[in-house]
Chain length 227, copies 2
């Protein structure tokens, strides 16, 4: 309905356990008409940053994410890119990433998100943010976080759309990463009362959405009514 109305659409995800191709396939299977070009995700944002600064990464990421970095020179690394590596978060791999960082004149750590934990069918798992903190402490360095709520992440989504922030609206369930991040970038933002949403979000000390909607369909209704 959004696309049929002539509005432009971009999906902003912090997914780092799959390529955009796989992510889009899942959405298509659920009936959504979405293409890879309509997805803004941390890995391609990181690739852009790596190219701009001539950085050659050592990757500590999920196996399924590696193809996103296919075009990037990874020889003789001068930075570490950290994603939610899941089973690849081994003692050996963490020590290897650490040794590379501590051996750099000025360690550069790029983290594909800073989530604390997430839930899977077999229970809670430590997310990339926890491992980021471990490496930050060991190397006395601050990671550069790519992904929501980083301002640059929303800016690249807007660049893809070719739309200024004041003409865009963000819809999300995460009060800080989605709503707060988009607003800091000059966009308006709706919070859906589904998914990660918690009633306590409505008393958040720092972030206040421009409006609440009960679900994604209601968000679409409201947006289309304004046209």
């Amino acid at each position: 309905r959004i696309k049929a109305s002539g509005l432009k659409l971009q999906l902003c995800t912090n997914e780092t356990q799959a390529t955009r191709e796989n992510f889009v396939r899942k959405l298509q299977a659920l009936g959504f008409d979405v293409s890879v070009a309509e997805v803004t995700a941390p890995a391609p944002a990181a690739c852009r940053l790596l190219r701009e600064r001539g950085l050659r990464p050592h990757l500590l990421v999920h196996d399924d994410l590696v193809p996103e970095f296919a075009e990037i020179d990874k020889t003789n690394p001068n930075c570490v890119v950290l994603g939610d590596a899941a089973e690849n978060f081994t003692y050996a791999n963490l020590n290897e990433a650490f040794r590379l960082l501590i051996g750099m004149e000025k360690p550069v750590l790029i983290s594909l998100g800073k989530g604390r934990y997430y839930k899977e069918t077999d229970g809670l798992k430590l997310d990339v943010g926890a491992y980021m903190k471990a490496l930050e402490y060991a190397c006395d360095v601050q990671a550069e976080v790519v992904g929501k709520p980083a301002k640059g992440f929303f800016e690249s989504a807007l660049a893809e759309l070719g739309v200024p922030p004041e003409q865009a609206i963000m819809i999300g369930d995460d009060i800080v990463s989605d709503v707060g991040g988009a607003q800091q970038c000059g966009m308006r933002a709706l919070q859906v009362r589904t998914g990660k949403y918690r009633p306590s979000d409505e008393n958040h000390p720092e972030v206040r959405p421009d409006a609440y909607v009960n679900n994604l369909a209601e968000a679409v209704d409201i947006i289309l009514q304004q046209l």
Copy 2:
């Protein structure tokens, strides 16, 4: 020579990859006349703390350290004790410790030190402090650190000696953990110019030893001269 002079002696170590028994065996093999009772180490200090507060730990520590906790009730854990677990720092073990912590009404994380990294023959390794930071971030909790430079650690060494801080002197190579920690406890402290010592320590912004000595033998000479 210290013991022959009638002075009391206590060794304060942050070793958490071996029991005191094994630690003492190594020193004895090097010719030092030392007994287990003369060693203050993080694991027994943690055991004291666990007993005092009725805490039942889940252990994420090195296999060789586990015997130190033999007498401690570990059923139905209500805290996590973290040591330098080395090869035991697996993705599965870290998630397990995390799940236990996040499931507690008030998570209690006790860390046997907060070192950032150390060197082994096959290279640098992340130390317990890095994993402590990961769990602290994921659970939004502050770890209680046992071991140097914690004040309580020096206090238990003094209690073992039965000596007030102003009648004790610390000898160590680490400007912060050894010298700073002991001084904050009211003791005097010598820094030896061996081991971890770096010339830059002599310009440390916060800690100033009561004196420098070139090595342990010189420290003994000076102490015995004062008698």
